[in-house]
Structure formats: C-alpha cells, structure tokens
Symmetry: C3
Subunit: 131 residues, 3 copies
C-alpha cells in the first residue's frame, strides 16, 4: 500500500472541487498497472463523490439539492452550527474506491472525482492509498 | 486484480435490478477463496446498493423514497433535466465492496446487490474487480 | 484477508454506536502494518458511517436529520413498516474502507466509526476484513 496526501483549498461554504487530475497523477507515479485506489477524506464536514465533470451545472445542481436534502434544523444541538454539513458528509461518504486497469483509473466516460466541501472555506487534505 | 464487465438493461426511468447472481457467478469463476470484490458503476445517473432482496416491496419503497428525497428543482441549471438522477447517484454511491470468505460473498441473510437506474431506460455496464 | 465478526447491541430504534476502539483492537491484533480494513454491516436496516465522535451532539443531530430525510411514507408497500430504515441503510451505506499506515487506522483528528442502527433495538453483527 503506497499512501500519499494531497491538499485542496475551498473558497466557499459549499463547493465541489474536481481532483481527477491529481488522482491520475498519483496513479501514474505509482507505476501500479492493475489494482485499486482509495480516495479518503479525513474530515467530518466534507466528502468525496464521483459524478459528471463535463458540465459544471451538474456539481452546481447536486450542491443545491444537498442543501435542500440536509438543511439547518432548529432542533440541532451541536453548538458549532454545522450539523447540516456533518449530515451531508455521512450521506455522500468520506471515501471512494476506483479500480486501476492497464495503469489507468477505470472511470466512466463522464465521471470525474470531486472533493465535496460542506463547511468552507478551509484548507483540506485528502489521503490516497494505492495497491 | 481480475476485472470483468457485466451488462444490464433497464426498462423504466427508476429501477432496481438485482445483480446478486451475476456477481456470485464472477466470484465462482475467479476461484478466489479469500479476498474482496469491487462492484463499480461507471455511470453518473445510476448507482449500486446492497439491501433486502427477499420482498420486492423494499426496492419499490426505496425508489419511492429517493424520489421524495431528490426531486426535480426549479433552480437546476443542467439542461438535460436529469439533475435529480445525478444527485441520487451521489447519495447512493457508484461502488460497493464485499468481502469473500471460503469462496463465497460475505452477504447478510437478507442482503442482495442492486444496480440502481435513475435515468432509464438504458443499456448500462457494471465493472467487477476481484483480488 | 483476515476476517472477524464483532457484535453490537442497540437499545433504541435509531442509535449511533461508536465502534472505533473495537476496530482499532482488531487492527492491532492483525499485526498488519500497511494495508486496508473493510467494515461491513450484513444488515439491511443498519449502516456504518465515519463522522465526528468528539461531541455526542453530532451523531444526535445526524440521526435527527436522517429521520427528516427518510420519513415513513403513506405509499410504502413493505408490510414490516420499516422502509424508512431500509432507505437510510442505502443512503448511508453498509460498508466503509479505511487505510492502515504504520499499524494505525488513517482516521482524521475528529473522525470515529459509528454503527448506525435504524430499526432497533436489536443484536447486530459487523464483519471486519483486513489485508
């Protein structure tokens, strides 16, 4: 298992940041031909998803939908006021697994990998593990 | 890592298709005794989940609930009109990992594996990776 | 792949149970230095998530939010009356993957691992697989 950390900086409270090229670079450098990569977010108000990266309206619309799905609720107890972001992290998930075949990520034609910021702006880290 | 593609065809816009037997066949053919399988959906308006496959009312009810959770929103920008499906893909997720022990999938008694169509009918593919 | 089962007992219908220490114990016993662990829930009305375990208000608030996101719907057909719990299981997910580096789980500072009960109280099992 080869492990590396990459960094991203968000500039808004909610933001999808395309990290596909960063993940591809790590796969190339690893020289792994057949295997699998884990993309892991070590934060509790962020997540990682795989979705369309051709039209920027798609991450815009998913962000909008997640705000409707997980709004601020009057009954929340957590004093930091970001329980909506913790909930989004749990429903989207903090890791993704992608197969590697012939040295390439096995992504679909329209798929890209997005770091999902739900409580920015912040400096964040992402852990990549490949084997 | 042994990789194989399987195909499914959906016949409705939203549909859960049980692929448990197809995944089991691949595990059997692979001769892997102890390991893990990745079930990966390379599409951005579909997903894969593990849930009850004994009573067909369960996938029916989850599909119904997901339509309430992720409806069409007036503020969506994506011109294809399927942002609700992209959102469902992100909240359900495009991959699952299942352990293999003594040559068998480590599934619970009531668990089956479902391909989740959110923007059908379409011909879709699923990538299986085992090691 | 080393596989082990751990057990948890829930005492309410909805409950997040911190299993971080149980997972760490298994990692220590396994003597794996670099690798990955799969945490798999073989139930269809439960799940596993990674989120903040410092302030108990966070799992409280996520549970509350999930009840709003996935309520009981009049149109549900499943006669057991727990389709809201099946839906939560699908949106949270029944497994998590965590990297292991230098013999330790690669968790973020505030991250803990929670078994998510959505249809308790019950005795439940969790399968751990490490390699």
């Amino acid at each position: 298992m080869k492990i590396e950390q990459i960094n991203v900086s968000s500039s808004k409270r909610e933001e999808f940041i395309d990290i596909t090229h960063k993940v591809k670079n790590f796969v190339n450098e690893s020289k792994i031909i057949n295997g699998k990569i884990t993309i892991y977010v070590p934060h509790t108000t962020a997540a990682v998803t795989i979705n369309e990266n051709a039209d920027p309206s798609v991450p815009h619309d998913i962000t909008l939908a997640l705000n409707k799905i997980s709004p601020h609720l009057a009954q929340f107890r957590h004093l930091e006021g970001n329980s909506d972001a913790h909930t989004k992290s749990t429903i989207v998930g903090c890791s993704q697994e992608i197969l590697i075949s012939n040295g390439n990520l096995v992504l679909g034609t329209w798929q890209g990998i997005f770091f999902c910021e739900f409580d920015g702006p912040r400096n964040r880290k992402i852990i990549l593990g490949i084997a």
